[in-house]
């Protein structure tokens, strides 16, 4: 079966591809941050709770983020919708196909996600009331999150490798995976390690903000969080190089000078990663945060660049037919701004509300 003949014909797009690519990268960036916090946070909390001591919530390092996990779920899901929408717009013919090939695993994400989401609530609501229930719930949530990550990495790599699609004719039941791909494991680990590292940094940040509000002593916790970040990112650098080396040779070489733009972007990322590890060990929260902000943007862009390279033989974004819907696009941008204003307004009144108001 010729790979090219299997690739579906894409539908036309109502705005230039770059517009959707930018939205895709922006929203994915926010999504992945929330996801990192949920997964990394859950792993850290679980590790802590499985130690013999299991300190009460208000004394533990993760005490500040544990109650935020369920809310973060809501935001992660919301910000997952947007990039999934935009990727379907520009890469629909690839992602619909790969999703069908692994349909069983893919659709299981939905019921499992519901369970994980409720699990996060059960965990925090029973944190000290019913420890076993609480810990088991968190365990279930964490395992499900690892499963979902596994499925997503499968899909995101399978969609880029149409040469593997013909396996469908041996298995039409939607149970194909791409886990045997040499780059699968490093990519999967690259996400998990990042989640842990970023959660560490997030813990440090929340402790910092809290200490600023209440003037309580939080220095030790901030440092612990930064340490998690620094160690995690050190591991991440190693995993990152493993991932790079596991890529098909021509793709790997593109990031090693083959494509100068891509190479420079990635190199900048590596430098920032190193820099943030150093500032992390030096307990400099602000410098670490700023570096990470740029670093994660670079990594999301590199992720998109890698996809472009993978698909280069089959498809380029400029092949999509443009049938503009400028009026609706402008309306969307307006609604987007109004929506953000409304969201900002609600967050503002929420934050300005006194801690306890007499009913």
């Amino acid at each position: 079966m010729e790979t090219l003949t299997l690739i579906p014909t894409p539908d036309s797009i109502p705005a230039p591809a770059w517009f959707f690519q930018v939205l895709n990268i922006l929203t994915f960036l926010i999504h992945i941050l929330f996801v990192n916090i949920i997964l990394g946070g859950s792993i850290l909390i679980l590790m802590s709770r499985l130690t013999r001591t299991d300190p009460p919530l208000d004394q533990s390092l993760h005490g500040v983020i544990a109650p935020k996990i369920p809310t973060t779920f809501a935001l992660a899901i919301n910000f997952g919708v947007a990039p999934l929408l935009f990727i379907q717009v520009i890469y629909g013919q690839f992602i619909y196909t790969s999703s069908v090939l692994m349909a069983v695993y893919w659709i299981l994400v939905i019921p499992l996600l519901i369970i994980a989401y409720y699990g996060a609530y059960i965990h925090i609501k029973n944190y000290s009331k019913a420890r076993t229930l609480s810990v088991v719930s968190l365990m279930v949530t964490t395992l499900i999150l690892l499963y979902i990550a596994f499925v997503y990495v499968n899909n995101m790599t399978l969609m880029m490798q149409p040469d593997k699609w013909a396996s469908y004719f041996q298995d039409r039941g939607g149970t194909l995976l791409n886990a045997a791909d040499p780059s699968f494991l490093p990519r999967y680990l690259h996400f998990i390690v990042a989640s842990v590292a970023i959660s560490g940094l997030f813990i440090a940040l929340v402790w910092y903000l809290r200490s600023r509000n209440t003037a309580a002593e939080a220095g030790e916790k901030i440092n612990s969080g930064l340490k998690i970040y620094a160690i995690g990112t050190s591991v991440q650098v190693v995993v990152g190089f493993w991932y790079l080396l596991s890529l098909p040779r021509d793709l790997m070489l593109s990031f090693m000078g083959g494509n100068m733009v891509y190479t420079i972007i990635l190199a900048a990322g590596i430098v920032l990663a190193m820099g943030s590890i150093i500032t992390g060990f030096l307990k400099n929260l602000k410098a670490t945060l700023i570096q990470l902000g740029i670093l994660i943007t670079i990594m999301v862009i590199t992720r998109a660049n890698l996809r472009t390279l993978y698909l280069a033989d089959y498809f380029k974004l400029n092949q999509l037919t443009l049938k503009p819907q400028t009026d609706v696009m402008i309306l969307f941008l307006l609604v987007f701004i109004i929506g953000l204003v409304a969201v900002g307004y609600m967050i503002k009144i929420a934050n300005s509300a006194p801690e306890r108001r007499k009913a």
Partner: protein
Amino acid sequence: MNYPYWDLPQIGGASLIALISIVHVYVAHLAVGGGAFIWLTDLKGAREKNVKIHQYIRKYTWFFLLLTMIFGGVTGVGIWFIIALVHPSATSSLIHYFVFGWAIEWVFFLGEITALLVYHYKFDQLSHRNRHRVAFLYFLFAWLSLFIINGILSFMLTPGKWLVTQNFWHGFLNPTFLPSLLFRTSAAAMIAGLFGYVTVVFEQGASFRRTMLRYCSKWTLFPFLGLVIFGAWYLFSIPKHISTITFNFNPQTIPFVYTLLISSILIFIGGIAALLKAKQSTQKMLTFVLVIIGLAWMGGFEYVREIARKPYVINDFMFSTSVLKSDVDQINQTGLLKYAKWSKIKEINDENRIEAGSELFRLQCSGCHTINGIRNDIIPRTHMFTYMGMLAQLDGQGKVLKYMPRVLGTEEEKKALAAYIVLELNDKELIENPEPSKPIIPETTAIPPFNSRTDQYVLLVWNDLGMHCISDSDPWFVILPPANTLEAQLIRRGTRPEIVTDGVEITYAVQKGFENPSKHVDFWEYADRIFGAKLGKDTGLAGTGMSGAFELDDYTATFVAEKIPVVPYSDNGTYQPYPIFDIEARETESGELLAATKVVAPVSTEMGCRNCHGGDWRWNNTSGLSEETAINILKAHDRINRTDLYDQARKGKPQLCQNCHADPAMGAAGKADLLNLSAALHGWHAHYLAKEGAEACMLCHPSHPTGNTRCSRSVHVKKGIKCTDCHGNFADHAIALLKDQQGRRSAELLLEALEATQVASKEEINPRTPWLKLPDCLSCHVDYDKPGEHPSSFNKWTPGPYALYRNRTDRSGTRCTACHGSPHAEYPATNAYGPNRDNIQPMQYTGEPYPIGSNEKCEVCHIQEMKFEIHHHNLLKMFRNKVSVH
């Protein structure tokens, strides 16, 4: 077809969509209605300074958040996941055409969850004013989400002008957008009331509970006003052609319409019941039941809406099979397997035919049909079909019953699909054409003597139709009872021959072995129930038996023995569709024998129903309509026409088709709004047996050249004239019959998809009343002359019954049929059961099989040569079509 197909033969993707969607949509409507409920109830609590309400709404919000934000939110994404897996092409279309709609909806979703989280987590901290603002914002964003989704959902049902312009707004603000939005908004309020109960019944304090239950009942009951008004508006906004298919034809719609209506009534009653005083446990129970009924209501509504779209996923644009309407012609030309990117097989050959069929099934059928599965299982739906029946089904599907799409692809592909369904799925044989019958052993026909010098009378006898089929499926239905009519004219020979009508009696008696038809068919057991007539055994509907006397019809100077109940089954177990009758004419007073002859009463039970509808032969594995065939036919009729003929028959009340369908052949008036029998049968089946030429006729009628009747015996057959040369191809024939029935809804529906094949358009086909207007012999034999090249009398119908061959006379009063023989068996006829079985009288009187009086043998009646062509022009010649029948 662009995408791979997720193969779930037992479950079917559609069921997964339904499962996720219905629960989601229920909760999603709650998310909208509940938003209004929270906002207004919170306002009410503040206005009344009622702390209990304030506390209640806080608890309600927690429950609401857990249900709508988690379960509702994730199942919403779940719908998107599942439709992209099951219908990637359609999902891709919706995403690409409406991406900014979805993006806007995402912003609303973000606003919605932010508002809900702030409202819940800051419930106690926010000022009343800010809290109410946030509650309002929540409701606003939730309703705006509905606004967007509703636009895209209603677009799928009624794309309206978008089909032409592909403009976003034309699609979004489509014909059902507004009624659907208002209907759903009402539904959301009603559902908010239902879920209001859920939290209220757990409140402490009977009086507070009662107050709040009443309050919730307002939410449940008042929206019904909107549901009725906007529901009706919604219904009437759906184009007529869509609603006809959905509500008049698609049998799938019925249970869901009932679900919707009954659950509506139950919810309304429940809403009123909630006003009554009751124990808390009773209230809890009622609430629980109401929430479940609410789910059924939602499922009923969504199912009806989904079904209304069939056979499309986006109406008039993309079929449920993911094929674009605009690609249909191309697919039929080049083939579906080539069109489908994800088909393993591209070319069909003998080795891969079944596998190709399975591929085609996956591509075209699996979207709705499972195999041995939970939904629309294909096995019971096709088990009755033979291979031919399956092919016919595939040919006709979607032409009249448009809730299913047309089957696409080349003829080769349709055959592969049919073969897969019949052989692989139903484990039945592949028999492409009607099977040939057992070999027929011709008998020599004894020709009665005639002495041209001494005999004074010539007795001419014939059958009025040339073939009479009977349906021997009496316990199930009767379409044609045993009823053969023989007609006779007696001519006194002389220089001035005379047609004798007075002072003579003509009698008939069937040949040995056929005297007891009641031994072979169940007609007499059911005659009273079906015809309301108490018939003696072996006596027919007109009172004639297997032997008896003709009655004189003065007007035509013809003796008639009407409706003799002869059947083609002989007591010795052989099938004989041409039993011979002895006919004698005697002087009434003296009883002296004036003339004697023989004639066949052609009768057949070789009805081809089983070719498609399945089942065996009923009688001795030779002929007849079996129970299985009859039941399959009744079930098909019941399914398509929403009748209960099968049940009635099972209860011992089989029906006569002509009770409802008029039939001039039987003098049955039928029901005025229904098609006459011929128009109904031909009009319907023409869509399924879309073949040209006589091959189509012989699938049902006993005219197959290797069948056990071979009823086309006329001289015309020898000349290569086929059924269709006079009656028209199946489609043309059906159009003529249907045009005669115009004004009846079924006629319009059936005519719509039929195309003329022998003339340029349907408009050129002249309407024809069956049995009363038929192809006119004289349109080829102009002035009784030799026809021109390629004769055809199609579309040249006799003006009325008087001009029919079987009714006409010449100038002397002699019936055409008297000299030329029965219709479809005109002399010189050929009969597989004996070369001269249909030519007895010509052989008897002239020694040749040609029409009486041909070859200038005027002396048969005139006892001398004649010079004037008194009977008709072109008579005094040697017969053109010499045959050898000896």
